[in-house]
């Protein structure tokens, strides 16, 4: 397939690996921020082919994984209401809440539907004026333009029965939080190419400068990741700390200005809790006052729930790269993709699921 196959060429991958081996003279620790990148790195075994001292730690870039348990419980409470058609991306369905998950609710008769795009949810609201259609708006900056457009469209069509449950997180504040951690290990970042396709990369420039870390905007195919790693290592070896763009075929410095404008109109920045990590200032999105009436949390007044994580799950350490899935006592035994105890085992972008599907043993 064009623009995919070329970036999976094994001969070119070999060359890039050789070049990385020649370039790296000291041990370095890099973090890939995005779960899609983690998936490629683990599935292709890229981390095992790197020089011994060059370590990849897997970042918190799995939106499903960092959605707080409280919010999953709210989704479950809303989805259980008889007047509601609850819509979501497929990978949210098996994320365990405190007592159950969306898939189990559906099996018990709740109207839970998987949609491909939030506009599908808007269409459902048009088709079912007698029902309340709620979309679980989960994601990083990549899905924010889609969710913003869904709200704008519902507004334009005058749909009183559409709302979204907002679970949006932002990448740069999470990177800053990781860099501020006292036991910080990461020395360079591969930034998520598609987040930057929307937002551009100017937000990363002050981070690279202030913390003296190279940041390389990187794509998702094996050659992209290898080239991104090489660019980061070259910077580290030379003592540089700049923002560079490996993914020039899809990312521009200013991102997509129309998409950014829609996000700015529909959402405002707020503090946000990350599952397993805790609250990070200014790291999430909420609806602006103009569109507050589309907020499912207020429409259905879901609060006062008590959320409880599974005691065995060390998702917080996994999400910050402090420990690996294979360090978890439940990994591969009590916790598998069929019976996930924590969110990182659910989504294909989750580190635990990536390890499990690649057959990594504890």
């Amino acid at each position: 397939m064009r623009y995919l196959d070329e970036y999976r060429d094994p001969a070119l991958a070999r060359q890039l690996l050789d070049e990385i081996h020649t370039t790296a003279t000291r041990p370095w620790t890099l973090m890939e921020v995005c779960g899609g990148q983690t998936h490629t790195i683990v599935r292709q075994g890229i981390d095992n082919l790197l020089p011994a001292g060059l370590r990849m730690i897997h970042g918190p870039g799995c939106p499903v994984c960092v959605t707080p348990l409280e919010l999953i419980d709210k989704a479950l409470a809303i989805a259980a209401r008889p007047e509601v058609i609850f819509t979501s991306y497929g990978d949210m369905l098996r994320v365990p809440g405190t007592g159950t998950d969306l898939l189990a609710l559906r099996a018990r008769g709740s109207d839970v539907r998987v949609v491909y795009s939030p506009l599908d949810a808007v269409r459902l609201a048009e088709q079912h004026p007698d029902r309340q259609v709620v979309f679980f708006a989960v994601g990083f900056e990549t899905t924010a333009p889609a969710n913003a457009m869904a709200v704008l469209r519902a507004h334009q069509l005058g749909l009183p029965n559409f709302s979204i449950l907002v679970s949006h997180v932002l990448v740069p504040p999470a990177m800053t939080a990781l860099l501020d951690a006292p036991d910080r290990q990461v020395q360079g970042f591969l930034a998520a190419g598609h987040v930057c396709a929307v937002m551009g990369w100017t937000e990363y420039e002050p981070i690279a400068h202030r913390y003296q870390v190279p940041v390389v905007v990187t794509g998702f195919e094996p050659l992209d990741l290898l080239e991104g790693i090489l660019m980061a290592v070259r910077q580290l070896e030379a003592g540089h700390a700049r923002v560079e763009n490996q993914y020039a075929r899809a990312v521009h410095r200013d991102g997509n200005s129309r998409a950014r404008e829609a996000i700015r109109r529909v959402f405002r920045v707020r503090d946000r809790a990350w599952r397993g990590i805790g609250t990070i200032p200014d790291s999430g999105l909420a609806l602006t006052d103009e569109f507050a009436r589309y907020d499912a949390e207020t429409r259905f007044a879901v609060s006062g729930l008590t959320a409880r994580e599974h005691p065995a799950c060390i998702a917080g350490d996994i999400l910050t790269g402090a420990r690996e899935p294979t360090d978890c006592t439940a990994y591969g035994t009590a916790c598998t993709p069929r019976t996930p105890l924590g969110a990182p085992m659910v989504s294909t972008e989750g580190t635990c699921a990536a390890y499990h599907s690649a057959g990594r043993a504890s």
Binding site: L4, L12, G36, M149, A197
Partner: protein, 80 residues
């Protein structure tokens, strides 16, 4: 859900004021919102996320990157 993939625009259409298009992903076609890339034309490649085209694939840049990687191979061989 964050996996964006490249596809080729095969048709565009205005749906009650919203620019939509049909995008071909290697034989599989999908309806995609083009509102964020109103200048995209039929035949061009876009990166699609959750039903939205968020970025054009710059063909010249794509070639340049691949050429650069290939030439790195030749210079390595020359050194050996």
């Amino acid at each position: 859900m964050c996996l964006g993939i490249p596809g080729r625009i095969v048709a565009t259409v205005d749906v009650a004021g919203l620019l939509m298009g049909t995008v071909d992903f290697d034989g599989l076609t999908r309806e995609v919102c083009l509102a964020y890339l109103p200048d995209a034309r039929v035949g061009e490649y876009v990166i699609v996320h959750v039903g939205f085209a968020i970025s054009m694939v710059d063909e010249a840049e794509a070639h340049r990157t691949l050429e650069m990687l290939r030439s790195m191979g030749t210079s390595l061989e020359a050194e050996l």
